[in-house]
């Protein structure tokens, strides 16, 4: 017969060992001659005191202590940086530039550029679209196109002497793009496509319900000289 020994039986069998082990711990009466060093008492008192503190488990291991120190240093640096104007501005500027470089496309107004608009327009227009209107003044040139289904897109050319441009990249799929050796951005959001790119003088914008390929083809067809 091979009886199966379960955990309860094992616990039963272990009980005498547990009892004997507990008996090997000396009784208090046996410790009358025991001398405890002040160093030990000090350390144990500190441990007891620390254990009573609510934040004990935040700092009870070396890893947690190191993490806490690192967090404190980072917090300290952040607070110091943002408290001192001379340090805050370069940091904020860096964050803005970083954001602009990787998350958006912005063109700043530059009043130094001569405000003389020489109008241009795309030479490639997708099939079915025709020019509906042109609005032109000294600073910008806007052309609206439409097809027989009523779908529209527009082309905008603006002087950098009078405008600042950006692209809303929130919840949009976007990426940097090069149009005829000029930096720009293409953004697709809710079915609408936007391309923006700039030369030294102008900011160009094309907005419409197009594929990325069509948008790029329109943008690349704009004569820049």
């Amino acid at each position: 017969m091979n009886p199966t020994i379960d955990a309860i039986t094992l616990k039963q069998a272990l009980t005498p060992y547990a009892k004997e082990l507990s008996f090997t711990l000396p009784q208090e009466e046996e410790c009358f001659a025991l001398e405890v060093s002040p160093r030990f008492e000090r350390r144990m008192k500190r441990m007891l005191r620390d254990h009573q503190k609510f934040y004990y488990f935040w700092f009870n291991t070396l890893g947690k202590q190191v993490a806490s120190i690192v967090i404190l240093i980072v917090l300290g640096l952040t607070v110091t940086t943002f408290s001192v104007k001379a340090w805050r501005e370069p940091v904020v500027q860096f964050v803005i530039e970083f954001f602009e470089k990787f998350a958006s496309f912005t063109v700043k107004q530059n009043p130094q550029i001569p405000a003389e608009l020489i109008a241009t327009e795309p030479t490639y227009i997708p099939d079915g679209f025709f020019k509906v209107s042109t609005t032109k003044n000294d600073f910008q040139n806007i052309i609206l196109y439409r097809n027989s289904n009523g779908e529209e897109f527009f082309f905008k050319q603006q002087c950098l002497s009078a405008t600042t441009g950006g692209v809303d990249t929130e919840n949009a799929t976007f990426r940097p793009i090069i149009i005829n050796e000029r930096e720009g951005i293409i953004s697709l959001k809710n079915g609408h496509g936007v391309i923006k790119f700039s030369t030294d003088q102008y900011l160009f914008t094309i907005v419409g319900i197009f594929t990325e390929e069509d948008l790029i083809n329109i943008a690349e067809s704009i004569p820049l000289e």
């Binding site: 955990a7 094992l10 069998a13 272990l14 005498p16 060992y17 547990a18 004997e20 350390r43 488990f57």
Partner: protein, 184 residues
């Protein structure tokens, strides 16, 4: 993350539990550690480390002043002394294994039930370290994670040791024609 740490915070009851254990047992623990290590400073270090380990498993202790708590303290203290012994290439020659609780009781018939008695005898054939591992796992019902913390080893290492001890006990029992299948 904050919630996680907050969940680790002791209740007042647990803080009191720790203080009670300290007040009740720190002197006997020191006395025992001195007997083993024969060096005041090392003995004090061993007791302090034992309390640090106890804090980690405080939630598993039901009754601070009890035979079970004394057993648990002894297992942890003996392991800590063993670690110190190993680290410092200790000055005394005898191993802690010579103070095996099993040896103290060998040859005694504790149980009327033959099956339990045979299992008890089989456990007596294990080393003190292995017996203590069984005590932690199946007498105190500690998780492998808690055992790892007590023995100051990794979780994987603790699981392997438990598995090895199980296998060894099984082999001994098979020689006695018993089958051993405790729950994991």
């Amino acid at each position: 993350m904050l919630l996680f740490y907050l969940s680790l915070l002791d209740t007042e009851e647990e803080k009191e539990k720790f203080r009670t254990i300290y007040e009740q047992y720190h002197r006997p623990m020191l006395q025992y550690a001195l007997k083993i290590l024969r060096h005041q400073e090392d003995a004090e270090d061993a007791v302090q480390t034992t309390f640090e380990k106890l804090i980690k498993i405080l939630k598993t202790i039901q009754e601070p002043v009890s035979s079970d708590t004394k057993t648990l303290i002894m297992v942890i203290l003996r392991n800590t002394c063993r670690d110190l012994w190993r680290q410092k290439k200790y000055r005394f020659a005898e191993s802690l294994d010579q103070i095996s609780p099993g040896e103290l009781s060998s040859g005694v018939n504790y149980f009327e039930n033959l099956e339990v008695q045979q299992l008890y005898d089989a456990i007596g054939k294990l080393s003190a370290k292995e017996q203590e591992l069984l005590l932690l796992k199946w007498y105190h019902d500690l998780s492998n994670d808690h055992i790892a913390k007590i023995l100051n080893i990794s979780y994987t290492n603790a699981s392997k040791r438990i598995e090895r001890t199980r296998a060894k006990l099984k082999t001994i029992l098979e020689e006695e024609q018993l089958t051993y299948e405790p729950h994991h």
